[in-house]
């Protein structure tokens, strides 16, 4: 039986309980035997991206110790957090050290959710039904650092009764950027407003993304704009059977 470890990410942990439950159910339905290491906290990206490399290492070690107990693949619902582990963990330790070997090992078996489904399990249809007009926001790290250009759309394409509508400037950042939202809140707001305007203009009633960070930002922006467009994580859409969001 295929085994995998759940990497829930700190934003998922704090804000998206139902998304994590859906992720668990979807993976189990595909026959994946899941392990959840409870010692996991955050991948350390907020510290790393803000220049606190020394402070990042301690967090990284906690993560690696938590996931080193099993050699199963590690699957997370965020391209950004997965990219941190996959691309930046090995940079944090000098080559030749045991920490570097561990980081390299962990990095090689960490996957973003849609990447794991489409590219590892080779499944494109999760049997979802979602009779709505849906548009898609391509999250920056998911798209550019992970290079995941087609995976999300492949999965959406298989959803029954779903009508896909394109989003103008789909690949433009929504203004999240982690600590950027509190460092330069006005710029973040301007970027978010642009994104929200385009989502509304798309004519969709649902916008999906593969990133909890973008989701928090876009959902909040839509609420603030008085829109009833539903912002959801792709996992929640893929878990939908009745079209009831």
């Amino acid at each position: 039986m295929t085994q995998a470890q759940l990497f829930i990410t700190c934003l998922g942990d704090q804000f998206y309980t139902s998304t994590l439950q859906n992720m668990t159910r979807l993976l189990e339905c595909l026959g994946v035997d899941l392990v959840f290491p409870p010692e996991q906290t955050c991948c350390g990206q907020p510290l790393f991206n803000n220049g606190f490399e020394d402070q990042t290492r301690a967090v990284t070690l906690n993560f690696m110790r938590a996931f080193a107990k099993s050699d199963a693949p590690i699957v997370g619902p965020s391209g950004s957090c997965v990219s941190m582990v996959k691309h930046h963990y090995p940079e944090l330790f000098p080559a030749g050290t045991p920490e570097h070997s561990l980081a390299t090992d962990i990095a090689a078996r960490t996957f973003e959710f849609t990447e794991y489904i489409v590219n590892v399990l080779k499944i494109t249809d999760l049997g979802a039904v979602y009779p709505h007009k849906v548009t898609y926001h391509a999250s920056c790290h998911y798209l550019r650092e992970m290079g995941l250009k087609t995976e999300a759309k492949t999965l959406l394409n298989a959803v029954k009764e779903l009508e896909f509508v394109p989003l103008n400037e789909e690949e433009t950042c929504c203004g999240f950027g982690g600590a950027f939202t509190v460092t330069y809140p006005e710029v973040s707001r301007a970027m978010m407003d642009n994104k929200v305007k385009r989502i509304i203009a798309s004519g969709a009633d649902t916008v999906v993304t593969c990133e909890p960070g973008c989701l928090m930002n876009i959902a909040g922006g839509l609420y603030k704009a008085g829109s009833n467009i539903h912002a959801m994580h792709i996992i929640d859409l893929l878990a939908s059977k009745e079209g009831v969001a």
Binding site: R144, G177, P185, E186, G220
Partner: protein
């Protein structure tokens, strides 16, 4: 390090008061360049290969800059030109002033140049009683407005045609219509007189071809050609990073530059200048000087990560796609160079005490690195400079405010000692419940108040761990 004391660059302060006309003008103009670039790139199947070659040549050149600069200098001298070395901005200004004084220059006409913006040459000339007139239309506009450029290749990108018409009317005491063609005609008429009267032409350069000592200037308006051929004296001020090995490498950069910058296959004018005129009757000035400007570049070269900024060919593509730049405009970056490239150059050139806010002026979305024609890893350098701010390195001591530094230490502790994090995860939903209204947290305590300034926060649910535990003991539903 620049010798000039530069005022502190308050990106945050500026970003709180961006004039609303700026993002709208900037977004309109940059979108055209983005679309144009995409169309040109799509026509070239070998685009990615070309970028890689461009990147390799630039890296090779900056790694061997001493060799190529010496070769360039020798070739310039062989062609009858005079090369000067300026280690600081002040040195460069003094060299130009000295040349102007020796030739009794009263009026200088200028072709668009980032290097002269960098050293503030116009002010120095004016202080010495020499009129310096910008002849690139965009530069002419911002000179009238009394500001610096807000974009590398489109200095007046922040202004709409109506604002330019109002500026012309006010400064030139005419009734200028908001019609780009008419505005260009007005400027052209004024500039033509000046080209004929000027005692000195000043330019920068896009490239310096080391093998022949040739200056390459790429323009769309033809003013560069006028500035460098009509006056009897031509002085070019060029950053030492502009050197490239030979003409073969130039063909790569000419293919990359115009496509990345304006979405053209080639700019309207590509000009090659090798020394002064060789004989009476030939085009070109009698005397040709080049000021090779260091101004901190050789120091940047010592940083194995940061030095990649010197690969830049100043196309502006990174700014055109940058969602931060598009919402704040170029003045937010507080220096002659703006956008993502400014955010990685200014901190290295001006020092962290002046520019420590700039490396954070990015969401690290990576759009800039995707379009950079010479593959400068901008997000990597931004992170590198953030590290310099937060914890210091061989080049600078930390400049991060102590409170933020202490907070990062506490965050690190809480995330590394997972029992603290897990305890927090249990407590936070209860604590945050008091701020919950209508399924959201519309205003949260500091520092999350900076988040809720712009949009509400979703409520803290944090019950996956409990759900998992219950499920593990009682079985799956």
């Amino acid at each position: 390090m620049s010798d000039d004391t530069h005022t502190y660059i308050g990106f945050e302060e500026y970003s709180e008061h961006v004039p609303p006309s700026i993002p709208s003008a900037v977004q309109q103009a940059t979108s055209r360049f983005v679309d144009g670039r995409a169309a040109r790139v799509a026509e070239l199947p070998q685009w990615e290969e070309l970028r890689q070659i461009g990147s390799d040549i630039r890296l090779h050149t900056i790694e061997n800059m001493d060799v190529y600069l010496t070769r360039f200098e020798t070739a310039v001298q062989a062609a009858g030109g005079i090369a000067h070395w300026a280690s600081t901005a002040e040195d460069a200004r003094q060299i130009v002033l000295q040349i102007a004084k020796e030739h009794n220059v009263k009026l200088a006409v200028k072709s668009k140049s980032m290097a002269t913006e960098e050293i503030g040459l116009n002010h120095a000339l004016e202080a010495a009683g020499i009129e310096a007139l910008e002849t690139d239309l965009g530069e002419y506009i911002i000179q009238l407005a009394g500001t610096g450029p807000s974009h590398i290749i489109v200095p007046a990108v922040h202004l709409k045609k109506e604002e330019i018409a109002a500026l012309f009317s006010k400064k030139l005491h005419i009734d200028a219509p908001a019609d780009p063609i008419e505005l260009a005609r007005i400027a052209r008429e004024i500039l033509r007189e000046k080209f004929l009267a000027a005692g000195m032409g000043i330019s920068g350069a896009n490239f310096l071809v080391a093998e022949t000592g040739t200056l390459v200037i790429v323009t769309n308006e033809g003013n560069g050609r006028m500035c460098t051929t009509m006056p009897e004296l031509h002085v070019a001020v060029v950053g030492i990073d502009k050197v490239i090995p030979d003409w073969e490498s130039l063909t790569v950069f000419l293919k990359l530059l115009a496509r990345s910058a304006t979405g053209q296959k080639l700019s309207t004018y590509t000009q090659f200048i090798t020394g002064p005129r060789q004989a009476e009757g030939e085009f070109g000035p009698k005397e040709f000087h080049i000021v090779l400007l260091d101004n901190g570049r050789s120091k940047i070269l010592k940083d194995p990560i940061g030095r990649d900024v010197l690969k830049c060919i100043r196309c502006g593509a990174c700014a055109n796609v940058c969602p931060v730049y598009k919402n704040v405009g170029g003045f937010a970056y507080g220096s002659f160079i703006s956008g993502p490239i400014g955010a990685i150059l200014s901190p290295q050139m001006l020092g962290m005490p002046t520019a420590r806010e700039l490396p954070y002026a990015s969401t690290l979305c990576g759009a800039c690195a995707d379009v950079c024609p010479v593959k400068i890893p901008i997000p990597t350098i931004l992170r590198h400079l953030r590290r310099r701010v937060a914890q210091g390195d061989d080049f600078a001591t930390p400049t991060m405010p102590a409170l933020i530094h202490a907070t990062a230490g506490l965050v690190s502790l809480a995330l590394a000692q997972n029992w603290i994090y897990r305890l927090g995860t249990r407590l936070l939903p209860f604590f945050m419940r008091i701020f919950k209204r209508d399924g959201w947290i519309p205003s949260a305590p500091y520092p999350l108040s900076r988040w809720t300034k712009a949009r509400p926060l979703p409520p803290f649910t944090a019950s996956f761990r409990q759900w998992w535990n219950v499920r593990s003991t009682k079985g799956k539903e």
